[in-house]
């Protein structure tokens, strides 16, 4: 059963591979690259006969507006600037880097998907396979060698958990899991 389905799919793909317009017509240059999603433009060019473009997306319907590479012609740094603002106001992701002392590479997480500190810390524990201690306002994180810290908008390194969650996610620029004596010095009662 597996084999025959595979065969059928092969036939279908061959017949409709990378084509817009009816079979037998010249392939249009704009569809050669899978990477460029010019469906919107391609749809226009197909005219009344309709398109076979749906075959390329058997599982999902084509997006209503496919983004065209390099259009509108805006430089990346400008796009990034606008994007940041949009995310803040409309709930796009807040991605921050997470580093852990001793780990060979960094990770990135989206702060928006967590509803509070417990969830965030749990996720970081899972990501780096370690445990953070118990948090208390007076003593910081007790019971482990690690302390989660973050860099805020002023460039200062702060202990995670001191400020309200909403304030934290708007001011956190990156996270760092500190280890060892540096960590123990943070927030612990003398």
């Amino acid at each position: 059963m597996e084999g025959s389905v595979g065969c059928d799919n092969d036939l279908n793909l061959r017949a409709t591979e990378l084509r817009l317009g009816l079979p037998g017509t010249e392939p249009v240059s704009i569809v050669r690259s899978n990477k460029r999603s010019l469906q919107q433009v391609a749809d226009d060019d197909c005219g009344v006969n309709g398109c076979k473009s749906d075959d390329q997306n058997e599982t999902a319907p084509p997006p209503p507006k496919a983004q065209i590479v390099g259009w509108p012609p805006i430089r990346s740094y400008r796009k990034n600037n606008i994007q940041t603002k949009k995310n803040e106001s409309e709930g796009g992701g807040i991605y921050v880097k997470v580093s852990m002392d001793g780990a060979p590479y960094l990770r990135k997480i989206d702060l928006k998907i967590y509803s509070g500190y417990p969830e965030l810390l749990q996720a970081i524990e899972n990501m780096f396979k370690f445990t953070i201690g118990e948090y208390s306002e007076r003593e910081g994180y007790k019971g482990s060698d690690y302390a989660p810290t973050y860099e805020d908008k002023d460039g200062d390194w702060m202990l995670v958990g001191d400020v309200p969650w909403e304030m934290f996610i708007t001011s956190c620029k990156r996270l760092r899991i500190m280890k060892g004596s540096e960590a123990r010095g943070l927030g612990c009662g003398v």
Binding site: K65, I74, R78
Partner: protein, 585 residues
């Protein structure tokens, strides 16, 4: 007897006369008069501009001009700005620096645009040129703050360090502190592109303190509003200033400190920066607004009423960059307040949104064209346009030299008549006789190109996207635009015929870019064979162009004139159509 008169001036006199001739065009003309003028001129040329770093080799430049003090180089094609040129394409400056290090010990100025600059290149600059004064890296990439540290530490008489719009690798380190205490020569410092972690503010303050000639300073986004006053009080002589982020909780003492600091800057004419603006702090600028000639608010996400208030305080404004939050109402205010306006750029706040998020239409631009008779340069993103509006703009502003219109949705017709916008753009080229640069958008047929070929006699740069019906369009442009130097085309149905019929034209231009068009591999090969003065490069990231039939269109094509022959630094996805190279490939 007559002939002898021509040579009666000693070389020294000619050299002295030539030293007053600064423009490249004139210098080139001088060098063509006769052999002895060519010789004298080449020994005293001090400034070289190379618009395409692959058009000539470093060795050739050094051989002809042995005493250069200032060089400007441009690398990647303009469409690299919009991610159409893959990473690794080229534009490396290292070899230039390496060769110039030996040949030009007195080189003082390097200006680069769209080039890949490594830390190694920067370190080489730092140690090779004892009299280094000016480094401008416009839209460059490939370097980190380590390279900048080398420049800061070694260049004792640095006057200008301008990193505008470049991508710099975020490494920790206080590179600014590398400027020695003895460095007091800075006139211009632009670090606006740097990410948060890269600037030590106290080092910056000390640097500003000891550079009394500092005229132009652009801070980066990480510098907070409360720090602006400190900087301005140390540099009241500034002419051009870029803030960091302009947001803070409104506090009366912070506000009055800021307002006072701005008002002490009696020479300040140009402002930029303004990330994350809190409108309540804009009135701190009011004291300097009457003197402002240039204002870049293109990152400021402030709404039209606040923009209107600010702009109405700036009657001398000549240049305004702004987001489309300004809306038609804001542009109408601009038109009535700023009669000296020469340049307007309106950027989209939500370029990928389907519905318009602001009320900015063609009306805003029409209002400005009516109210600002000195308007010369326009860059305008909007969602609708009409032929009538374009005709009005053309008639109101016959002095336009740069007109770039981007209607966000490709192939958008005239919203009133549903016609193509041929007539509107036709009016632009017809009325604006000095038009040098034009970018098209909207629904356009071959007719618009007929207009452009007929009237665009001074046009030097043309950008085309999603336009035209056939090769006739391209043919009109190539055969009619006498001054054309740069042509960049994407997603147009232009094929082999026009290109091959106008092959000779390509030798008179700097470059041609065509992507997602219909030029066949066979035609590219033919051009490469027949036109030895051109480098014909095919770019394809998916598979080699010769793995398909010759009639297949190429993905991207970049053709440029060159006396250096095919380049040696092509990545695997770039193929040269030069016969010689093909054998080696």
């Amino acid at each position: 007897m007559q002939k002898e008169m021509a040579y009666s001036f000693p070389d020294e006199v000619l050299k002295h006369v030539f030293s007053f001739i600064q423009s490249d065009k004139d210098r080139n003309a001088v060098s063509l008069v006769c052999k002895s003028w060519y010789e004298i001129e080449r020994w005293c040329r001090r400034k070289v501009f190379i618009g395409n770093c692959y058009a000539v080799s470093p060795r050739m430049v050094i051989r002809r001009f042995p005493e250069v003090r200032s060089i400007e180089l441009k690398g990647k094609p303009h469409f690299a700005d919009f991610n159409l040129v893959p990473d690794g394409w080229g534009g490396y400056v290292l070899q230039w620096i390496a060769e110039m290090a030996g040949a030009y010990p007195w080189l003082g100025e390097i200006r680069l645009k769209r080039m890949v600059v490594t830390d190694e290149s920067l370190e080489l600059i730092a140690k090779s040129f004892k009299n280094f004064k000016v480094l401008v890296l416009f839209s460059c990439e490939g370097f980190s703050t380590d390279g900048l540290a080398a420049i800061a530490a070694s260049c004792k008489n640095l006057r200008e360090l301008d990193l505008r719009e470049s991508e710099v690798d975020d490494l920790s380190g206080h590179w600014l502190a590398q400027f020695p205490e003895t460095c007091t020569s800075l006139v211009s410092l632009n670090i606006s592109c740097l990410g948060s972690d890269e600037v030590s503010f106290s080092a910056l303050e000390r640097l500003v303190d000891r550079c009394p000639n500092l005229r132009s300073l652009q801070l980066n986004r990480a510098v907070t509003l409360d720090k602006i006053a400190n900087i301005l009080r140390r540099a009241p002589q500034l002419v051009d200033f870029g803030t960091g982020n302009y947001a803070a909780e409104l506090q009366p003492d912070v506000f009055s400190n800021l307002a006072g600091a701005f008002s002490s800057c009696k020479e300040l004419k140009s402002l930029s920066g303004f990330w994350d603006v809190v409108p309540a702090y804009l009135p701190a600028l009011y004291s300097i607004c009457p003197r402002l000639t240039s204002l870049n608010l293109s990152y400021a996400t402030i709404q039209s009423p606040d923009l209107i208030k600010l702009v109405s305080h700036c009657p001398r404004l000549q240049r305004l960059l702004v987001l489309d939050y300004v809306e038609d109402s804001g542009l109408e205010e601009l038109a009535s307040s700023c009669k000296d306006l020469q340049e307007l750029r309106v950027f989209p706040s939500d370029p990928f949104g389907v519905e318009p998020n602001v009320s900015l239409t063609e009306q805003g631009l029409v209002a400005v064209s009516l109210g600002c008779p000195k308007l010369q340069s326009v860059l305008y993103f909007c969602r609708r346009m009409s032929n009538a509006a374009l005709v009005t703009i053309a008639q109101n502003c016959p002095n336009l030299t740069r007109f770039r219109l981007c209607i966000i949705e490709p192939k958008t017709p005239d919203y009133l008549t549903l016609d193509p916008l041929d007539a509107g753009f036709g009016a632009i080229v017809e009325h604006c006789k000095d038009l040098r640069r034009l970018s098209l958008s909207g629904l356009l047929t071959d007719h618009v190109f007929e207009y452009i070929g007929t009237y665009g006699k001074k046009l030097e740069m043309l950008s085309v996207a999603f336009a035209g019906d056939s090769d006739l369009g391209l043919h009109h442009v190539l055969s009619g635009c006498e001054s054309l130097r740069k042509l960049e085309i994407r997603d147009c149905p232009f094929g082999d015929k026009a290109l091959l019929a106008n092959a000779a034209k390509l030798e008179t231009m700097r470059s041609l870019w065509m992507s997602s068009c219909a030029v066949s591999f066979g035609a590219c090969k033919l051009l490469g064979q027949k036109m030895p003065k051109l480098n014909v490069e095919v770019i394809d990231e998916t598979e080699p162009p010769d793995s398909r039939p010759e009639s297949y269109p190429v993905d991207k094509l970049y053709i440029y004139k060159s006396v250096a022959g095919p380049r040696f630094d092509m990545p695997p996805f770039v193929w040269s159509m030069d016969e010689a190279v093909k054998i080696l490939h």
